[in-house]
Symmetry: C2
């Protein structure tokens, strides 16, 4: 699979957004976030992309125009100044941005889930003739279905993280700290082109290469919007690795990913030096059973909510409802998530997500069980929804890694 996007990639993306804009009665969409700007233009330089409901989109570039002109696949022009941006939009798209006196005020969508409030308020001043409304649902829905090019990039990220995990496992020994093990795995992903972080849309959420955490440290709860947090290095980095040495006979959570050419993979394996207690081993087997059950249902037409609810039922039947996807107040209410340019894409395998799965969606499914004082066990694969079922994108062998 080539890592150069084919002709048509960008017009296809723009076209799918335009269909949704028309259905939603929006005159267009102003995209302000770097990831969205790249998705619709092919360039991640600083500026704004405007996609009208009908017609050609434009990338207004603040910096670097030189570079955006090389990279962008859509009409690209200089953003003259923020103050003049309203006039520039009005000249280029008079139907979306009429003069304030016109009085009709068309709806213009934007990525209000990520755009800072300060920018939102300033935009309202420069385009008084339009009403800026939240289009994040539309944007996330458009991005939830991946092209062949995008699936290729996620697959490449899967190869990279699998190779780095092998290097980490080869070096793993009792007494090594979580941080030391993670540093080896990160070296492996970085050398192969990991950009250094996995982009995450959620406010205040951060993830670089995932979580390596063992024993009771892995079971420590955290702000992080995932089933496991980890102790972390300090209150200023309160998740993932700590300086705790990894011991024998405790579960080692290896929840790892990387970002290659902008696209993210996410996978989890559980390892142990020695052997797990019967209770934890049994819970690991339940996570395997849940991921197999999920695979059997994973096809177009199934709903994310159904996948989540049947996993909850399976955990409850195994007597592990209280340990599933975190513990106590710190349980998260999902089984998995869409993945692509960001790690927290749509759909979420959670209640409320009732639109059926479609071919081209990519999902990380991560049944995990938390035992305070003991650790976290579980498994996570990234899948592609196909016409008839699914394809596993994760490349690492799937087993309890007893060393």
């Amino acid at each position: 699979m080539s890592n150069v996007p084919p002709n048509g990639e960008w017009s296809e993306r723009v076209g799918r957004l335009q269909e949704k804009l028309a259905s939603a009665g929006m005159a267009g969409c102003l995209v302000t976030q770097n990831v969205g700007i790249y998705y619709f233009s092919g360039s991640m330089q600083a500026g704004y992309v405007f996609v009208p409901a009908v017609g050609e989109p434009t990338f207004y570039v603040r910096r670097s125009l030189v570079r955006a002109l090389e990279e962008s696949k859509i009409r690209t022009t200089e953003l003259l100044s923020f103050r003049a941006f309203g006039e520039q939009l009005r000249a280029d798209y008079p139907q979306s941005f009429p003069a304030a006196e016109a009085g009709e005020r068309p709806l213009v969508g934007s990525d209000l889930d990520v755009m800072p409030a300060q920018l939102y308020l300033k935009l309202g001043e420069v385009v008084p003739g339009a009403r800026i409304v939240d289009a994040s649902t539309l944007l996330r829905t458009v991005r939830s279905v991946k092209s062949a090019y995008e699936i290729g990039r996620i697959s490449e990220a899967a190869e990279v993280v699998a190779a780095a995990l092998e290097e980490g496992l080869a070096a793993l020994k009792s007494g090594m700290t979580e941080l030391e093990l993670m540093a080896i795995i990160e070296l492996g992903t970085r050398r192969r082109g990991h950009i250094g972080l996995m982009r995450m849309r959620g406010y205040n959420q951060e993830i670089m290469t995932g979580i390596v955490s063992a024993g009771e440290a892995a079971a420590e709860p955290s702000y992080f919007d995932g089933p496991a947090g980890g102790r972390g290095l300090s209150p200023t980095s309160p998740k993932s690795v700590s300086r705790r040495p990894i011991g024998r006979d405790e579960p080692i959570l290896l929840d790892l990913g990387c970002c290659i050419d902008g696209y993210v993979i996410d996978q989890t394996r559980t390892a142990v030096i020695g052997q797990l207690s019967p209770e934890l081993e049994a819970a690991y087997r339940v996570s395997e059973a849940i991921i197999r059950q999920t695979e059997r249902s994973l096809r177009p037409g199934a709903t994310p909510e159904q996948l989540y609810v049947q996993a909850l039922d399976a955990a409850a039947e195994a007597g592990l409802a209280g340990n599933f996807m975190g513990f106590g107040k710190d349980q998260v209410k999902f089984l998995g998530h869409g993945i692509g340019l960001e790690i927290d894409e749509w759909p979420v395998l959670a209640r409320g997500f009732r639109d059926p799965l479609e071919p081209g969606m990519t999902l990380a499914v991560e049944p995990k069980f938390t035992f305070p004082g003991q650790g976290v066990v579980g498994i996570e694969n990234t899948y592609l929804v196909t016409e008839n079922g699914f394809r596993t994108l994760t490349k690492s062998p799937e087993r309890l890694l007893a060393l």
Copy 2:
């Protein structure tokens, strides 16, 4: 210097914000960003910190309450639900959040430069009795003056990056790619406790460990809000390292930092395998002269604007105005920046920053020159402003590293 904050650290921080709130006529400040939440509470769990103009602050925690209760230095309580958050605030702080019918609508500041617009709009609905206004200027001003504890953390980060740079230089050889060199330096910072990224406040800005870039690749412009960008790995990571091999006789820009216990350091050294052309070597000497000139002025009372303007003058006198801090349209309009929990703190050494420097401010000063097709040369140190002058926090020896 202990890495445990002393008693009084948090009440001092809260007190300084309260003074500013009172002067600004604000009833309080709602802090929503993870870095700000940590700054005022000692914990970075998910939730909101409210600091009233008078009285005790509260940390309302969404997740993990268990962990926030262990870490937080201020009153900490569960955030019951976002819908009920308005009532919770009204009950705890009736003067800041009166019922909507009361009609007075006190001003409540918030971090609108980072808070997503969607959250801003929802907050407006749950606290109809208050007017949420931008307090980012206040928050950034309070944070610009560091405590002894904070200076200790930045100094520790300086030790870590200096050690990692030594490891990178020991491994550097002609033909190695920028990415390979960076991976070695990152391994060095990570093993010593770098959290993996340097937090940056600016929207759409990202920096993990800095920039390693050589020759013409370093001179490629980028969206990044700094004097040098670098080619990067792809249009989805369009700055810092590329897979270009590092050659002989070209400038190697080593603009590096790390984040230890939440605090960031930032420094730049220029290296060369062989020797620089006379033109680039002369420009490097001008960057040294500008940093010496800046040091002579670096004391309480000097203004950031003065430091910037005199650097501009020095660059112009050397005939390098067009190469200073980037090239052409891609020049940035500053000489340096505050640094602490974030890499882009206040004050910025730029026009418009006319409030005099104060003891306790920490500043990265980074005179650099860009030569398209040839590379970037320059130097950067992080300084503490003291009662009588400055102290250099950067630990790496300062010279043109000819290898």
